[in-house]
């Protein structure tokens, strides 16, 4: 057991003009994760502290916070990796709703805008012909799954948005996780929506706003590698553009 000073960012929208810091002295167990210290404060010292968490096993993506200036999943981050003073703040680049809780609607809106679902070009009745005759499903080989599997592992923790210097400066930027998700569907052999996502991926604030800082991939706890997705999408865009020059009907999938 070791005593640590945990510094929490506090913001009460009804009382505080702007966020402030509050220090708590916490007796920490050696095995604790950062989230355990925040939970201890909430349970034993100050019940007014607000934060999000759920699964405690790096699956739900809700416990993302800045720990000493770095975006971290706090249920996965060992407290013993830090010195005696640990500064815990809400995720950078997000409006702060209360204490360590950030506004999610902007993120969800960006997510939705890439149409993250399987789009089939034909009407359902017509599409029946492409279904597996016995299983009534669209078949997919392991290799086809391998093309996008990595990009489907995202847990929506938003750490990549906190790390990205473009998100911090360009509000219209779709951002790493949303582009990775859109790209995941474009790579899915069952999907035929690349054309529908065409403009979403090529308009302002999309893939070409990314300066390949690679920060999103550095902080991603699930090795989704959104920077790879964004730059693959850039590559695909250039290929489509080149195809559009030489082929009569352009180059979308």
């Amino acid at each position: 057991m070791v005593e640590k000073t945990i510094i929490i960012t506090r913001f009460d929208p009804d009382r505080d003009e702007k966020p402030r810091k509050q220090e708590y002295t916490v007796p920490c167990e050696d095995s604790w994760k950062v989230l355990d210290a925040v939970n201890f404060i909430k349970d034993e010292i100050d019940a007014t502290v607000s934060h999000r968490w759920s699964c405690r096993m790096a699956v739900c993506g809700s416990c993302g916070m800045m720990v000493n200036g770095e975006p971290k999943l706090t249920c996965k981050t060992a407290l013993s990796d830090y010195d005696d003073r640990v500064d815990i703040e809400p995720l950078a680049n997000f409006p702060i709703v209360r204490d360590l809780v950030v506004e999610l609607d902007g993120f969800m809106h960006k997510f939705e805008s890439v149409k993250p679902w399987i789009i089939r070009a034909k009407e359902q009745a017509e599409d029946k012909a492409s279904l597996h005759p016995e299983k009534d499903t669209f078949g997919q080989s392991t290799e086809e799954l391998g093309n996008f599997k990595q990009f489907s592992m995202c847990i929506n923790c938003m750490l990549c948005y906190s790390a990205c210097p473009v998100v911090a400066n360009e509000p219209d930027f779709l951002g790493p996780a949303a582009i990775a998700l859109g790209h995941r569907y474009n790579l899915d052999s069952r999907d035929e929506g690349a054309e529908e996502r065409h403009d979403i991926f090529r308009g302002e604030g999309t893939v070409f706003s990314c300066s390949y800082a690679n920060e999103c991939s550095e902080v991603c706890p699930k090795n989704v590698d959104p920077a790879a997705a964004i730059n693959q999408a850039k590559f695909g865009t250039v290929i489509d553009w080149a195809k559009g020059l030489v082929l009569p009907r352009g180059g979308t999938k």
Partner: protein, 146 residues
């Protein structure tokens, strides 16, 4: 943290019911270890900006006749210029190595029936091309070929 990010960063499409505090970002972001390589990478832009001026100066000298050209060449022997060129060389190598490191994963997983070669092979090919071109240019400049 406590430095301001763009006030509209990650803003909801319609404002929420409660007043939110504007987004923040670490005020020491530029010194964070994780981001240092990227900051250095971006900072090399200043060197290329400066060397573009040198290029323009040399083109001017070339147009102004042999004497101006010889004087310009002589001025490049100044230790400040030599140090600047060494710095440029280091920065070009740094940018190339970073680019080569990130390039393989930017390849699409498949283009029709074709798959890109594995990352280490792409990586190796980039270095082979780089060293090949450098060797060729060195041979040309040294008068060994052409």
């Amino acid at each position: 943290m406590a430095g301001p990010a763009h006030p509209e960063a990650m803003a909801p499409p319609t404002p929420g019911r409660t007043r939110a505090a504007p987004p923040q970002m670490p005020s020491t972001w530029w010194s964070a270890k994780r981001i240092r390589t990227y900051i250095l990478f971006d900072a090399t832009g200043i060197i290329y900006f400066l060397i573009a001026f040198l290029g323009i100066r040399l083109i001017n000298a070339l147009g102004a006749g042999p004497e101006a050209w010889d004087a310009a060449m002589e001025s490049l022997k100044n230790p400040i210029y030599i140090a600047f060129h060494l710095l440029t060389l280091v920065s070009v190598i740094f940018v190339a190595v970073r680019f080569f490191r990130l390039f393989p994963k930017a390849q699409p997983p498949a283009m029709g029936p074709m798959k890109p070669p594995p990352g280490p092979i792409i990586h190796g090919m980039l270095y082979v091309v780089w060293f090949g071109i450098t060797a060729f240019m060195t041979a040309v400049l040294a008068g060994v070929i052409l």
